[in-house]
Amino acid sequence: MIFTIHNKIERNSIVLALGIILVSAVGGLVEIAPLFTIDDTVESDPDMRVYTPLELAGRNIYIREGCYSCHSQMIRTLKDEVDRYGPYSRAVESQYDHPMLWGSKRTGPDLARIGEKYSDLWHTRHLNNPRDVVPQSIMPAYSWLLKNDLNTRDLRGNLKAMSRVGVPYKDSMINLANRDAIAQASPSSGDVAGLIERYGQATSVRVFDGDPQRVTEMDAVVAYLQILGRLTEVAHSDTSVKFDSKENVASAEGS
């Protein structure tokens, strides 16, 4: 039966082409479309922060240098991963990630919770030459990050494009993107209060690369790494999952 019908299909290239499109369309439709309609796909967190312009610039450099080809940013719901890296990643954490950087290979460790794990100085030295701090490392050296000044002028357009794809950047954020980036990495020369007002108390305002005079690409990358896993507390505070015995003990200790 199938074979007699097929006898017709294979004699008409248009029918064949339409058949291919139809048959191949089903899977994607069924799997992707509901991700936009089923509510509990993405947790909701009204306090979810957006990347500051400096962090976004750092993220763009992270993409530019292809860090995602060795580092994942997705802790799976597996015990060993939670034990090693911390609470597993939630969908909301990459809600504003256009595109997501979950990664597919762990040549280096997962970075989803790297924020504030190490010091700025460590990141700066590590990125400049990983073997300076980790002799066994096989990570490439990114020495140019310290040499290149960050292009802050274009940040406005970047924020604007991000807002076009749905990230809630306010107009003031977009308009002041350039200044906010400078203020975050070189606190003495910028409107830090305004930056904090726009992006929240949790914003780290520091000289990330150790040089207050210049805002370098290193500033941006380190600022980005230091915010990873810290845009929302959802992963740490979800009570339905009692996995963070770590914190309970910590607060009990009262040190």
Binding site: V30, T77, Y88, S119, W122, F243, A250, E253
Partner: protein, 296 residues
């Protein structure tokens, strides 16, 4: 046009079509293929019934097992926690002396310490605690804040110059940059500091007296008169042969001119109390292993 013929080799008929010399046999689909297809489909069907599977508009089928990867993990962790409580409880409750006297607990420290240390601390302090430029050595006998395990435990919880509200603070002032000391005085001080370090052969007597004077005026408050440091403010011992920031003239000049403020992160949010206690004991054992390592 469609003339089937029999393939001599397999004995099957061809379909009768030919494309540029290629023919096809009309061999029926082998039974194994159909059996496999059915088996695979049945497997899938079973899986769909048991597990969350099919989207339905704004929800999805939950599966008869009610399985959820997150709850499954939570259960695993709970089970593990209760199993571990046999050693976590004493480890957290006993004081360090008692733990150090308990070989079973110390066996757990020896077992768990290395990987925990290498995943969290080795990036700065080196795999064997050997330290490196800007990050202190932990496998020696001199401690910035003292060798008491409770002190180390506290350091781990709050960090040094970290973002933790109760952080320890250790600041080496930038005397040159602040205009307190001239380049000349700093030069003298550098020579003096080098001379008191055991990495130098020069003895104190030969040292620059001007340097010594400046030292007792500006430095002794933190580093002590004899340069052995002060564990209350985390000021390092200057008389040993180990330098966090380097002992050559350039490095020392930089230290005195711009100051230092090493950043050790706080771990209370990232590591559980038991993990921090394991690390404390492990770190202390590092330097013992150096001692015993010297005389095999």
């Amino acid at each position: 046009m469609s003339v089937s013929e029999r393939d001599k080799y397999t004995g099957h008929m061809t379909t009768g079509h030919e494309w540029n010399g290629i023919k096809e046999l009309n061999t029926p689909v082998p039974l194994v293929l159909l059996v496999f297809l059915s088996a695979a489909f049945l497997f899938a069907l079973g899986y769909w019934i048991l597990m969350p599977a099919w989207p339905l508009g704004d929800t999805y089928t939950k599966g008869t097992l009610g399985f959820d990867q997150r709850q499954h993990l939570a259960k695993q962790i709970e089970k593990n926690d209760s199993e571990q409580s046999r050693w976590i409880d004493p480890l957290v409750q006993l004081d360090f002396d008692a733990i150090q006297g308990n070989s079973q607990l110390m066996a757990i420290v020896d077992e768990s310490g290395p990987a925990l240390f290498e995943d969290n601390c080795a990036m700065c302090h080196g795999s064997d605690g050997d330290g490196g430029r800007y990050f202190p050595k932990l496998n020696d006998t001199s401690w910035l804040w003292g060798s008491d395990p409770n002190v180390i435990l506290q350091t781990l919880a709050v960090g040094i110059n970290s973002t933790h509200p109760d952080t320890r603070i250790a600041i080496m002032p930038g005397f040159g940059a602040a205009g307190v000391l001239s380049a000349e005085v700093i030069e003298n001080l550098v020579a003096y500091v080098q001379s008191i370090s055991s990495s130098h052969n020069t003895s104190i007597e030969q040292a620059n007296m001007a340097g010594k004077e400046a030292y007792s005026m500006y430095c002794a408050g933190c580093h002590a008169n004899d340069g052995t440091g002060n564990s209350v403010v985390g000021a390092p011992n200057l008389t040993d042969d180990y330098w966090v920031y380097g002992g050559d003239t350039t490095a020392l000049t930089a230290t005195l001119t711009h100051g230092r403020k090493g950043h050790m992160p706080a771990w209370d949010k990232r590591l559980s109390l038991s993990e921090r206690r394991i690390l404390t004991l492990y770190v202390l054992s590092l330097n013992q292993s150096v001692v015993t390592g010297d005389k095999p």
